[in-house]
Amino acid sequence: MSEHLLEVTGLSAGYGQIEVLHGLDFHVADGEIVVILGANGAGKTTTMRSVSGMIGRSGEVVFEGNRIGSARPDAVLRAGISQVPQGRGTFTDLSVEDNLRAGAYTVKGSITGDLDRWYDVFPRLAERKDQRAGSLSGGEQQMLAIARAMMNRPKLLLCDEPSLGLAPIITQSLFKILGELRDEMGMSLLVVEQNAGLSLQLCDRAYVLETGHIVATGTGDELLNDDTVKQAYLGGVG
């Protein structure tokens, strides 16, 4: 059980009286990319937020063998989980570099090494490091959001709909980068997405979420060739 990096059992969460997630079970192993696929309203963002401690929930979340209670965001961060929120959530009034520094808020000690490394991975950010984050393009802001989350030196990265609002070409290069994070840095990712095609190709395993229930799971290839999934998310069979 605790061999997985992240193990979630019986996750239920909601807003006020309304329960959105009804007892989800899923896990992320070390060094793999797991995608949670779902349409609007399925509960994707709620899932992200309940794992990262933004909203209250019931059920068990075990990370690196330790139970995370209904933890606060900063405690979750310290445990090693970073989130890239939906819509990027960059600090638009701050410079690119300030955004990165903010990402390292809970890190003790010097972060110049981290800054250099991420400027290497994202040279466009290095070019614009003193520019106001709000003036960056959508794709660049997404890179910034990812880099910011990585500044915290996490072991698990949560990505909430990274392809939202981005052109297909940008999404492709974005997913390529996510793949590199896994391949070259051994990162584990939990990605929540609506865009089935690209994300199923990228991931190692995926879950399909519908109205708060997990209705299918398998490897990326398995689901790509699954008829029901194709019907619902990939525009038809064949």
Binding site: R78, T90, F91, L94
Partner: protein
């Protein structure tokens, strides 16, 4: 000419006080979108404390410093105890509560210090020969001192916001509270810090004004209104705008009273016109950011 220079420095000195108060208002507005209605009154209360301290024999600078700390504490308390609980439930009611704080604090000074005027010694020498000649005009040291304080404070704030981790956190919170949460910033604590800082700055404004204006319960009523107009003029989310706005209003007042005789009693009608002109034609003020409403 020397009269002009005299008026200019008068205006800059008074404007510095408005600038400080406007700055305090903007710091709070940027992080919480609220206008701290009670900012001026908290300052007045601190000035009363300072006057008691000096009467007990404390040196002026100590009294001022401690009074600023008191301002920090009171404002922080207001955020935590009054604003935050109400904001979560009913944002529209916050301003009503702040008006309540305004009233309570204003009358608290009357309750504990009575209604007679008091005096507060100045941080700067104020005797008859404490002036410098600039361009033929005799400029009082106190005026220059006030302008100096503004400059020093601006430098300190600049360093705080741009070169410290806390300053970064405050800027982040002012921009996006949710993302701040996500990167591990304790948003609640930062808000308290912001309000406290504003409280201390507002107190400083009162402490600088009281020696020359006389310390009564109504000390900051007018200045608060003028500083609010200044903040709006400069752009409620722009610290630079607050300072520029404050100085402009100060200068406007000095030259209005000085040169345009029949308008000298019409300060507020003029301010109303200024305010309306800004709000109707350039609602974001001179330096503020235009907010585009996505419907």
């Amino acid at each position: 000419m020397s009269l002009f220079i005299q008026r200019m420095f008068d205006g800059l000195a008074e404007g510095s006080i408005y600038a400080l108060l406007a700055l305090a208002l903007v710091v709070v507005f940027r992080s919480t979108g609220q206008l701290n209605f009670a900012q001026g009154e908290i300052g007045t209360l601190c000035a009363f404390f300072a006057s008691t301290f000096t009467l007990s024999g404390w040196p002026v600078w100590l009294a001022v410093l401690v009074a600023m700390v008191i301002g920090f504490v009171i404002a922080a308390l207001v955020e935590r105890v009054v604003v935050r609980p109400i904001e979560d439930r009913n944002p529209g009611a916050v301003i009503v509560a702040l008006i309540g704080v305004f009233l309570a604090v204003n009358q608290l000074s009357a309750m504990f210090w009575g209604v007679d005027a008091r005096s507060l010694p100045s941080l700067f020498p104020t005797d008859a020969d404490a002036f410098i000649r600039i361009g033929g005009a005799a400029i009082r040291i106190e005026r220059l001192g006030i302008i100096g304080v503004l400059i020093v404070l601006l430098v300190l704030l600049f360093l705080l916001f741009n070169y410290t981790k806390i300053g970064l956190a405050m800027r982040a919170v002012a921009n996006n509270q949710e993302s701040s949460n996500l990167v591990g910033i304790r948003v609640g604590n930062i808000l308290i810090l912001g309000w406290g800082l504003a409280g201390a700055i507002g107190a400083l404004a009162a402490l600088l004004l009281a020696p020359s204006a006389g310390l009564t319960g109504t000390l900051m009523l007018g200045p608060f209104l003028l500083a609010s107009v200044a903040a709006v003029l400069g752009g409620l989310d722009s610290p630079v705008g607050a300072v520029v706005g404050g100085l402009l209003i100060g200068l406007l007042k000095a030259f209005l009273i000085g040169y345009v005789d029949f308008l000298s009693d019409m300060l507020f009608p003029v301010m109303l016109v200024v305010l309306l002109a800004v709000l109707l034609f350039r609602p974001a003020g001179l330096f503020g950011t235009e907010k585009v409403e996505r419907v």
